[in-house]
Symmetry: D3
Subunit: 157 residues, 6 copies
């Protein structure tokens, strides 16, 4: 069964960057999730070395340009920075479809990514693996291996 | 007392980047400070993994476009790189004002940053903390806590 | 088919550590491989921040105590360090057996690791994946997925 | 009000270390929390550079020696490693007492740490800050500053 | 003797970036070399912290814009990513000439880099050092020092 | 001229470690220098990933066991940690002698390190390079190359 479908896309995003050298690291807890919940495409931290030998953090947020104001607000609210910088980036992304398989009766999404029609990557949605792990107590590692074996068995038949 | 005042700003800077995989790490001493003294907005090092498993360094310098030539000269003089790359970045920065408080008779700048009129961040100038520490022998941690208590007490009254 | 077999082991190794802040990063090329060829159990680099804001490297080598002299010689010959430190570490390691499967007629080792009889981990020898990739031009990713499907299919039958 | 009290302690822990170079990074999600839930003192990841230029991870777990078996089981279950190494470490830890203050009617623990009777550190329990943030929607930064002002005001009176 | 010669250049490249949080680190082996063989100007990995505390990798590739399609193909084939982003960067690069010296009868390239006529940097081609090391068994460190002494001696005469 | 001389040594040090996840990075300024001034053998910072995705810092201090109390005091005074852990490490260090050369009339120490009589490493004291740079305005890179040429020229004659 195949659900969902996003056409091949070329689009443009902005990458926002902020250097932080005066924030208590505890305050990074849940920070990346805030940007993702506000529909950023991605957000991440890079350890850097700043002036006077300070171990700082470069915060990066990738998002649609229309979200700049919202991200700026989140950054000013939740970090100690007082300025943000950003630049446009072009993007090439795959066409993604989701296949559904079942593991111990639980639904699992297999994401198939294609570029110009060719299968580029196949991956198990991590959130499904995590949800199953909560139910069965099995490790992510074991669940992944067993789901792959189901995916492959279906292909063979 | 409020001194200084910079209006809300949207401006444009350039970010210069250089990958370095053949420089004695001793030669990074004082390097970031050189860019800041030449009026770069910021400069930092990012540890990276380069070809052949080499642990390299990505040097980044953020500055006004008019400073490109000066930064290029500093980079060529003080590092082993033989090429630099750069791109423009837009910037949104807060309006900053400085409040002055006194700790043991010594002046301390409290930087208040506002965006569209709202207080976004309040911080103690680190150079003041450091100077006080040199005089009193107290730790940065202790001085900061005590200065915050003075700032807050002033607000309560 | 099962080949090889190493009993469950508790043993003791030494971990050698060296801080390096004055070596041209180019000279790290092939360095880790030298320790492994001399039968170290593992060797790795950790990016660190050293005095004066220098981006340094912590080199670690894990090996049998009997190899201390040989590793010390390699370190003094190939790095700029002038002293090494080391400490003993206890180790618990799995019992490993190798199963062989065939991919496009090429031999692949599947390493099965057990602790107290329980299967702990199953992995494809990377060197086999690399060798196959050299022959077929396929990516590591694709080869891995296909080998896993063969391993799982064999289990189902 | 002062609650809880742990005497000055010198004790001994073990530090377990594992190098991981073949695990899907998604599988690190929730990993550190598993060790802490099993009563490890701390657990953390260090990015390292391993053989063949691979970006690996050094997993470290600090715990009582009596927990070695349990931690070993968690590591073998949830990671791809097939061996662990460990060493004993001595520890000096502060005497901690908790003071309670109220912020908007919500309880906050202020941890006061003493060594040989001297106040060494004072910190706000992060879990309280996070809980308040969930209720009030305020940032960690703002909540922390306001709690500090309450703590200091109490001291002044 | 001077061979080769590239004029002072200002040109434009693209920097491609990809965040990877679900790829087995073993699969990074030989990855950077693939981009360089396909004529990328540089390629490197940056350790980052991604959502849910995952230790991810930011892959960067610097290349001529005409190579975008080829690099995109390599990235989709050899990594687990399903989208790439890129931006243009301007570049200033030195004029490079190669001088040849001999070490134990073996040819060594000394790269001299000039900007606006001034010597900016002088370096020994690492591949020559590596090749000599394979022949003589000497360390990179020793070979480099001795080649520098030859270069300097030639200058003195 | 040869000055100073330290015999080949095998000795024992302690390595102190502290995980820090709640300290303003500004407070790391000058921190490593404090340990070195108190006669630690070395001190460094390692960026780590801690619970809840926090970017933390592992502070390490290497020193004689007799300095444990002093280092513990510095750590408790200048960081937010409330506990330290440490372990003994054995050490093998080279015999070091200093040769003096002159560059533009300024004294430069060349450190020669020997193990069991064999020259293991030769390096220019960085503090001398820095001091010369302050006087002449030349880069570390240029000063180093020129000092090496002087060292080598003396050897040839």
């Amino acid at each position: 069964m195949i659900i969902g479908r996003s056409p091949i896309m070329e689009d443009q995003l902005i990458k926002i960057e902020v250097n932080i050298d005066n924030m208590n690291p505890e305050h990074y807890s849940h920070l990346l999730e805030r940007f993702l919940q506000a529909r950023a495409n991605d957000a991440w931290l890079t350890p850097i070395i700043m002036k006077k030998g300070r171990p700082g953090i470069l915060l990066s947020v990738l998002c649609a340009e229309t979200l700049l104001d919202m991200m700026r607000e989140l950054i000013f609210k939740h970090t100690t920075t007082i300025g943000i910088r950003y630049t446009k980036m072009d993007r090439l992304i795959c066409d993604r479809t989701f296949k559904i398989v079942y593991y111990k009766g639980l639904q699992v999404h297999i994401k198939q990514s294609r570029y110009q029609g060719n299968l580029v990557n196949e991956s198990i949605e991590f959130d499904d693996i995590h949800r199953i792990s909560e139910v069965t107590g099995e490790s992510y590692k074991l669940i992944s291996q067993r789901i792959w074996s189901i995916v492959k068995a279906e292909k063979l038949t």
